[in-house]
């Protein structure tokens, strides 16, 4: 195996793969990506609901989400040479009670302040957009420029393009530690003892990022949360919108394939002590039933849809609910892109581009200063 690279990226998820891709576009030739598990996109990249959403975003992340939608998603399939199934038909965040509507209004106001166009609509207007929604739906926020894509294919589309472009990938390459040389983060030590050296080291390893940067004395206050998802058999085309609810009891969409993908929380087990972030065979027996009841409650017509598979994944939740991007001041040579709180898929292309810009020394297209590592420690 190669022992040195201009840039070493730790984490072969959609963020790591996208960073590698945009680095090649910026002319960086010698890039190495290390994936700890045996499969690219083993973590959250392939376990999410596929939302490409700007609405409901924290103001610090909203510009990145908007850049992703305006500059990257519309042309991504063409660029990567594979259909990533990007569909831009809007996001409905549904409410059933007055309390829900209040919550939706607050989210809508916050997004409008950030320049995002989004409407509050009535229950009847919701049913005009999608007649399958329950009569109980009182209203929704509707963001027409939101949408969804296929996270499984999008992640691998970046990866396969990277391979074509000569990026060096290693799977089963679990990182044990980082090491500084003359004050600069340079060495990446693998579990099997292999020592690698990079001009720049990017950590985009989901929740495992915390363990990895701890080896050089850095820490991000974050915790893993386990969420679950399910997929149904193919159904005739019913509605193309991305869905979420004010109750946060499920989210998801109908895929191009025809199946419905829905995610939901998993009760007490959400807080299970995750011993190995690469082993995601954790699922609460009550989750599937609770998800089904939630989905049926909003979309009664789906009671007859057949579930074929369910799975779980880990969300890397930071203390303040948004990701960590950029160069920590106290670790020269290190770049962070982690802590996406379960909503990193939609922003991944823009994040990949911004991190590539950071590495080659360009001014990033969005201000990432509010997402800096130091924010947790400033008084």
């Amino acid at each position: 195996m190669k022992k040195t690279a201009d840039v070493i990226i730790i984490g072969g998820g959609i963020v790591g793969c996208a960073i590698a891709y945009y680095l090649t576009k910026k002319g960086v030739k010698d890039i190495m990506v290390l994936e700890g598990s045996d499969s690219i996109g083993h973590g959250g990249s392939s376990r999410n609901g596929g939302g490409v959403r700007q609405s409901g975003r924290d103001p610090r992340e909203l510009p990145i989400a908007m850049a992703a939608v305006q500059k990257f998603w519309p042309t991504l399939s063409e660029e990567l040479g594979r259909d990533v199934e990007y569909t831009q038909k809007g996001n409905l965040r549904l409410g059933k009670t007055e309390a829900h509507m209040k919550k939706l209004q607050a989210l809508a106001d916050s997004c409008a302040a950030g320049g995002l166009k989004l409407d509050m609509i009535s229950g009847d207007e919701v049913r005009k957009i999608s007649p399958y929604m329950s009569e109980d739906v009182m209203g929704a926020s509707f963001c027409p420029t939101d949408g969804h894509a296929n996270p499984l294919v999008a992640t691998l589309a970046y990866y396969l393009k990277d391979i074509e472009l000569g990026v060096h990938f290693y799977t089963g390459a679990m990182v044990e530690a980082l090491e500084k040389v003359k004050g600069k983060v340079r060495k990446v030590i693998l579990k099997d003892g292999t020592v690698l050296e990079g001009g720049e080291v990017v950590v985009a390893a989901g929740y495992d990022s915390r363990r990895i940067i701890n080896t050089i004395g850095l820490d991000i206050p974050m915790t893993p949360l386990v969420d679950c998802a399910l997929v149904t058999e193919m159904e005739p085309e019913m509605f193309p919108q991305m869905l979420g609810t004010a109750a946060a009891d499920f989210y998801g969409h109908q895929t191009k394939h025809g199946s419905f993908v829905f995610g939901s929380e998993s009760g007490l087990e959400e807080f299970i002590d995750v011993k190995d972030p690469n082993d995601m065979r954790i699922q609460h027996p009550a989750t599937l039933g609770a998800s089904c009841r939630a989905i049926e409650g909003w979309i009664p017509a789906l009671a007859k849809a057949k579930i074929v598979r369910s799975w779980s994944g880990i969300l890397d939740m930071t203390k303040d609910g948004v990701c960590v991007l950029g160069r920590p001041k106290e670790a020269d040579g290190l770049v962070l892109a982690c802590g996406f709180n379960g909503h990193g898929f939609g922003t991944a292309p823009a994040v990949g581009y911004i991190i590539a810009q950071t590495i080659v020394g360009e001014d990033p297209i969005c201000d990432i200063n509010p997402l800096r590592y130091e924010r947790f420690y400033e008084v």
Partner: protein
């Protein structure tokens, strides 16, 4: 650890075979040729294959094509069939109506306690 570049060099480029149009996954209509091409472009696990091509992701969840796919992966990637990691088995194993899945009232009390609803 797997060096993807080295593996691709070792197995060589994709060369079409006469029966590449053979359907391996009948549920999702994935052909042998599609699987072989994916393996020669950088896909190295059944997990990745499923995500890229949907083989084994349909109604039968790979019960028909699982063995075939495993043998194809072993042959194309020059590895022992025993070393090919199988796809993770996923609940509910047989398609279940959402209405039935949501009707597990016995667990309802636990779910409420657990904060699920």
């Amino acid at each position: 650890m797997l060096d993807i570049e080295e593996k691709l060099k070792e197995i060589g480029p994709y060369v079409p075979e006469d029966d590449d149009d053979l359907l391996v996954c009948r549920c999702e209509e994935v052909t042998k040729g599609e699987i072989r091409q994916a393996l020669h472009s950088g896909i190295t696990t059944i997990e990745e294959l499923r995500r890229l091509l949907r083989c084994g992701m349909g109604l039968c969840q790979g019960q028909t094509c699982g063995t075939l796919t495993r043998r194809l992966v072993a042959k194309e990637l020059h590895i022992k069939p025993n070393d090919v990691v199988l796809a993770t088995a996923r609940t509910p194993m047989r398609p279940v109506d959402m209405g039935v899945g949501g009707n597990d009232r016995g667990l309802e009390e636990d779910a409420v306690k657990g904060g699920l609803r």
